[in-house]
Amino acid sequence: MVSRRQFIKNTGKASFALWLGATSNGFANAAFITDAPSNFTPFVKIEKNGKITIFNTKPEMGQGTFQSVPALIAEELEVSLDAITIVQTSGEKQFGGGQAAGGSSSIRGNYDAYRKIGAAAKEMLVKAASVKWGIGIESCYAENGSVHSKLSKEHLSYGDLIEEASKLEVPKEPKLKNKSDFKIIGKSIQRPDVPLKVSGKAEYGIDVEVPNMVYATVFRSPVIGGTLKSFDADATLKIPGVIKVVEAKTTVGKYQYSGVAVIAKSYWAALQGRKVLKVEWDTNGYENFNLSDYENKLRNLSKEAGVLDKNIGNVESVKTEPGNSVESFYETPMVAHHTLEPMNCIAHVNGEMLTIWTSTQVPSAITGSGPNDLHSQIGMKPENITLHSKFIGGGFGRRLYTDYVIEAVNIAKQIEQPVKVIWSREDTTQHSAVRPMTFSQLKGGFSKEGELISFQHKVISPSYFDSVGPNFDKTKVDAIMIEGIGEQAYQIPNIKTSYVYADFHVPVAAWRSVTSSTVAFAHECFIDELAHKVKKDPLDFRLQMLDKDSDTKRVLLKLKEVSNWDKPLPKGKGRGVAQWEFFAGLCAHVVEVSVTKDNTIKIDKVYAVIDLGEVVNPDNVKNQIEGSIVMALTAAIKTGITIENGKIKQSNFHDNPMIRMHETPEIEVHILADGGKIKGVGEPGLPPFAPALANAIFSISGKRIKKMPFDLKLS
């Protein structure tokens, strides 16, 4: 890794500042005065007047990166969050390919790297002061944006030190602060985006208005996979305000779709025009597709061996006595992301130049700053694309995909003005890639002594990689679809996990916590079945398989304590437990339930323990876990997405309902942050919830739930 010292001096420029950041080949720090070269990613800018700007490359979608990323830098730099200006980057080339939020990765992927940037800047400023004062470094310290002398009352603001600091070598391994000295990290400091979101001033993609802008709505094939045959826009063009009707192409993964865009002076006029638009589609036989048939196909496919994923020990050689084994089959649905801000994008094509305003999880993918092919899909050069990245009214994985951007650009190419394309709620529900369903076949075998000696989990599902790319190798395991099932900490001597590919013509997407949101339900409910088979307490059964120290073990022990698991519940109450560790992190829940007079399950309380290693803002983590549980509850008990006659049946919140306030249980969140592997926040709260709830329902009713969504009404 190169750690070069490089100065481009131009003190006459207004932008005279000390920039600190990373070179393109890693987090080797580098400092520049004024314009940084293109292979340099600045994270901090300190100006002569003392103004400190921290650049945040992780889009804010409610997960808190607008604060948590700058917090890491500010902590080490010794500046308070109130004293900095946070700039959200918009996919600019200089900020590189990392301008994206997904996989709960913003903090866990950069915890030390961001801190080192702040620490390096601080070291240089302290050294600069010591040189100026002619005293030793050990006699200087940084606090609140200034360097102070321990020998006198003297102090110099960072702005007064940048010139001197820029002459210094950037430290390669700056000393990081001790945890006990943290002033920002680990503290529940109010988030800077909250006042904007409470006053209505936060600007989301859908709120942007640019001069001369027109609006568009797109009529897409109601049958998924249908292609555009022809359209008749005569009636549409007579609607006051309608300007033009054009074909609108887009791409999602390996799929290409065509719709018809009605462009008008207002969104309302566009919608009126769309109502009278006549379109003929070629439905290509997809009109005969029914989800129920497909589910049967998945059930049949479970008889196939599939492709082997993990093979620990030798499951086949394990001989279990009759009666000592358990077999089960679990089913989960497709679900929609339902970000509350529907899809939307403004695009303006001006000759070779393209400007985009939108809410996206992947700014660098849109501008071509990272490895991606958006520009080739829209036939634009990356250097000609400018993005204005806005607050995101919900991501959950939906805004990792750029179909709504590509579509807007293709419409914009056919009109001179900038065009704002708004997807209605119905459009967003029926024309977005969905979380795929997974079906799971599980087998477990006990020794004569009642010890679990073999465990098998086979996932049958459509393939994520087959949907997003053209060259999926069906003889290989789709690692996304079996995510987490081979990585649980349980020490079982013989484990086999496998995957059966099922062909599908519907585009599928990552949904908050990805496949863990479905496979964990099967996996952890089955563990519960196994515990009951040998008449063991489900939490103790899990702990007994966690002999060695592990994060999972620590989480379960903590959960046992905080949920008062060892204290018997009053009569009429039941509880269930589940945990899940996967790429994003680790969380476990205990759900307490009771049965109401009308024989319905009531969720009394949820206890959550999330293991993070380190925590930046505990209150924000709690907010995330509360929200994860609400979202997981919707996925567990509310209708998913179904397809009839080739069309998605659900359209809006009346037939695809979400959990509301009166259905929200009491939630108590505990955070483990005692060092160790740094884990994510945004997703881990989801996967263990549905199984913990289903296990609780079993504990009180004896009813074993094996299919999501499930009814809280007991039959």
Binding site: G62, G64, S188, Q190, R191, D193, V194, P195, L196, K197, V198, S199, G200, K201, A202, E203, Y204, I206, D207, E209, Y215, P240, S266, Y267, W268, Q272, H338, T339, L340, E341, P342, F391, I392, G393, G394, G395, F396, S424, R425, D619, N620, N623, Q624, E626, G627, S628, I629, V630, M631, N652, F653, H654, M658, I659, R660, M661, H662, T664, E666, I667
Partner: protein
């Protein structure tokens, strides 16, 4: 098309629109106040909530002609500086995640408190049931409403 006179946050606006167009789009795209959000368009999510003569209404489902000359308040009219007790409580409780639903939630909560100074859990549930927060900030919304009711003189 017709000229419609709107009174929003005590200001008068005159717009030339389809009288059937929902108030939501008049507020957002013709008056230019973007704090009021579109979430569903069918009175299911509450993101578009504004006050009509002090009552919370779904602006996505009200033809603009029906509210001509009536007193409409949007999130922008609640206060200039987040000083409304509900907004203060929202900040204290750090309610928002993505924030997209919050204008509507805040307008509903403000209307509730103006009618009922100390709502109990059931009152809050009833008043807020029409509002979806996909990010799931319900526990905090409830806490913030209670806090605001306690903070009220």
């Amino acid at each position: 098309m017709a000229i419609i006179n709107l009174k929003i946050n005590s200001k008068d606006y005159s717009i030339d629109v389809d009288p059937q167009m929902p108030l939501l789009w008049a507020i957002r795209d013709f008056v230019g106040l973007k704090g009021t959000k579109y979430g569903c368009g069918i009175a299911q999510c509450g993101a578009c909530t504004v006050h009509l003569n002090g009552q919370p209404v779904r602006s996505c489902s009200l033809p603009v002609a029906a509210v001509a000359n009536k007193n409409i308040t949007t999130i922008e009219g609640l206060s200039d500086d987040n000083s409304h007790p509900i907004q203060k409580a929202w900040i204290e409780e750090q309610v928002p995640q993505c924030g997209y639903c919050q204008s509507g939630q805040i307008m509903a909560a403000a209307a509730l408190l103006s009618k009922n100074a100390s709502p109990n859990d059931a009152d809050i549930d009833a008043a807020m049931q029409g509002h979806i927060c996909r990010c799931g900030t319900y526990p905090r919304i409830k806490r913030a409403i209670k806090k605001a009711s306690e903070n009220k003189p």
